[in-house]
Symmetry: C2
Subunit: 148 residues, 2 copies
DNA sequence: ATGCATTACATGCATTTGCAATAGTTGTAA
DNA sequence: TTACAACTATTGCAAATGCATGTAATGCAT
């Protein structure tokens, strides 16, 4: 409970400030790149999850991305409206819906990883390869996804 | 331009995914802590900047935080409405306004660094001290604020 | 001094967001 | 079987967001 004097506090040394700043930079770059290929930035994460495995329900999608459910619900709406995905009844339960990619959706999904990789590389260009690996590893620990 | 197969892409290895995930975690924790002391989460950053130096104009505040101007404009509104800050004419230019903290605002601002420090520490609890320094240093480079 | 670009800030408005509430379904325990 | 809790998804609505525009002031070149 030691007090910190405001004058001694440097934003640039604060983990939170750095994360938020970088998050916004990433947002902007991603948005630009995804618009180039006609994919709405808001749904790209959903599209990628479905690209890796579809036929899962919306709650499952949300859990993998740490997104709230109403968000997933609306994102799937967007995917469906864009002709990229479709909802089908779950044979195992009438209360859940399974989401599948359309062919068009699958084709789009295949384009995404390279874009993500390139944006990450761009943002991380100031680091050496070893440093990149290092920072990713440390952030995995912070996010609690490290040695799963 | 090597293609990446979707199946080989792991979200948890993506710098961007990690940043966004951690950013949301930080957001939630910050929000909770700031509400405890009656400070709106949205304006805390502005309050801290002013705590370090007030009598600056709104554009200057925005630049230090990488916030757009309309955002700062509204944030200062909030600070003013909450009795934490006040706008005064800039003697050097009638089109700019200098923002000053009130006494109440200064008192609030003094409370913030400890909270930020504690939340950061909480989020980084899985890392050793050396690792914390390391990740902060690497992120500083990424954010372009390193050796200024 | 005049005209024009730029600066500083504010805001109208459509879109997006998030919370809370709803509807319908399923599991389960009495 | 009935009642009740938990699950899955959706949506109404108020608040927040961001873009584009507006207003006023200033600098600067002609």
């Amino acid at each position: 409970m030691t007090q910190i004097n405001l004058k001694d506090f440097r934003r640039e040394d604060s983990f939170g400030f750095l994360i938020q700043t970088i998050a916004r930079t990433l947002d902007e770059k991603m948005k630009i790149e995804f618009e180039k290929v006609g994919v709405d930035y808001k749904v790209f994460a959903n599209l990628m999850v479905l690209g890796q495995q579809d036929g899962i329900n919306q709650r499952e999608i949300g859990q993998r991305l740490n997104f709230p459910e109403y968000f997933t619900s609306r994102n799937v709406d967007m995917l469906v409206n864009a002709g990229l995905a479709e909802r089908r009844p779950d044979p195992a339960s009438r209360r859940s819906l399974l989401v599948f990619l359309t062919e068009k959706g699958r084709a789009k999904a295949e384009e995404l990883p390279s874009i993500v990789r390139d944006v990450n590389k761009d943002v991380l260009q100031g680091l050496t390869d070893a440093e990149r690996q290092s920072v990713v590893g440390l952030l995995q620990t912070v996010a609690g996804v490290s040695s799963e």
